[in-house]
Symmetry: C2
Subunit: 356 residues, 2 copies
Amino acid sequence: MQAAITPDDVAPLARGCAVLGTGGGGDVRAGALAARRAIQEHGEVPLVTLADLADNDLVVPLSGIGAPTVSHEMIHAEAEPDRIRDEIERIFGRPPAAVMSSEIGGGNGVAPVAWAARLGVPLLDADGMGRAFPEVQMVSMYVAGLPANVVIMTDVVGNVVTIRPVDGLWAEQIARAVCVAAGSSALMADYVLTAREARGAVIENTVTHAIAVGRATENAADPLAALREALDARRLIGGKVTDVARHTSGGFVRGTVTVEGVGDDRGRTLTLEIQNENLVAFEDGRALAMVPDLISVVDSQTATAVQTEALRYGQRVSVLAWACDPLWRTPMGLRTAGPRAFGYDLDYVPVEETAV
Amino acid sequence: MQAAITPDDVAPLARGCAVLGTGGGGDVRAGALAARRAIQEHGEVPLVTLADLADNDLVVPLSGIGAPTVSHEMIHAEAEPDRIRDEIERIFGRPPAAVMSSEIGGGNGVAPVAWAARLGVPLLDADGMGRAFPEVQMVSMYVAGLPANVVIMTDVVGNVVTIRPVDGLWAEQIARAVCVAAGSSALMADYVLTAREARGAVIENTVTHAIAVGRATENAADPLAALREALDARRLIGGKVTDVARHTSGGFVRGTVTVEGVGDDRGRTLTLEIQNENLVAFEDGRALAMVPDLISVVDSQTATAVQTEALRYGQRVSVLAWACDPLWRTPMGLRTAGPRAFGYDLDYVPVEETAV
């Protein structure tokens, strides 16, 4: 593993996080700008594993929460991390020893570099999803059964809200309401946890994986093939975006995207269901891939991920799908982020087992 | 001043608080039941003034927040006060020395007796409104310019939310969202303050005033006349409720009530605009009384207050209006809770100066 995040790592990290964002997690560009600037100001950010931390060291999982259409306008890289750190010190009597990305997908995978730099602590090579998910309780710590201890949120104007929820579902319900009241965007620490608690309850090595995914396509002759290999992904369809229905409500972006096949896929039509992230890919009423597996829309030429809010009529895209972390395929993982958790009356079928 | 709230004080306190509730503040019956039960269990509740407290003693202003149509179903007298106390100890390093009613009007004027009994601390003979108001920032502490330090909320399921708002308006916006997420009802501590800070920033003697108002009508030959005298109130109209338009949205009850005159008032029609509380009384497009002055609907025979949610077609009622505490007539008071604060394009005219 590399010892630190350098300025040269930011672009591939952003590129990889965009793909792992499965359409959401917030735009990576603002996060990448903030990360580069913070490294310039505060120096390279040490990258550590759980083995590098003492048992009682506090890990603070951070993420921006909100509708991506709003939150990609806000970087939360100025006073917000300091306010979260101050509140953690007030509550736990000691500052965090490391920052972790709550979700490696999208801008929330990149911006923690800036937050860690600003706080002067290392970044943990791990996250709480291995991807992006739209709801607060959809994190590995919840699936692993850690009691929800505290959620700390702060917004650009300076409000700080600390939630001691009875469980992760209440955390989501209250945090979402606070987020909407705060203008649909806030920086959030969810499940402040010790390194001991983090073992087995976070998804490890996802920062280095995201950088590797980003690097794979940088100078490749066939970026799409290189990306598929790096992800071990299947291509569900190659085609053209022919319809995008999208609206922002209750702090989420929801919608449906239609991709009509071109070339070998001519005559096929894929529809993608979205709640911030791509949830299910349907063809002729049959699900080809579904949460918690990852579904990403990428530019067919450059293999660059296209976030939900950037989808436009006429784009030539490929839709890729690949397996999620095994944690999400446990009964608790599927109950938390399987298709029924999003209201789809579908039994989960692993993406390796559906035929395209 | 009396030394303690006894079981015999609860009924007149409830009766007085209902009148001071100006239609809102939550139903007094649940609060009265809780107060009586808590006094039985924990003993009479000492009633103290600010002079009885040391400068650094903490006063915790408590209230139920939520739509009255929901909150009068919930008493918040069990574990909720303990959770608020625990959070105050965590934040301030010491427990509250006294409970204060955030709003003396309605159930929120009565239930603090139960909360104080349960916490084993005295009740302060004061409140933050001298009446009831629908929004969190509409308290004397805000008008007096105390910085918003902390808002602590807890709900029946056990969630605890602590808000450090940048100001009272943000406190209202976030607290309201949390309240709706928690099922439109929560127990709230707003502006935890020292006795020193409370001086000049709370409205004093309102508990004894509410009890006196309640007692005034108990055995009176003419309850309505006795009530008017106790309040120094004018009668805007005596008549019959002929229309009630009411809906619950965003955590508030909003609506319009029409009263058609009978007897001496035959031929006159009064309309009352409501947001939890009675805001403005109009006749022929002219405002006869308006916030922050108090407007209360009472039964014409018994002089018992009729809360907004209990208004029904055909009720014989009198609409009374009287002057608010002078604090509300300051520029900051009117900016906070004058007619324009509720969206009415009206210049404030004191109720003593409008002709009926």
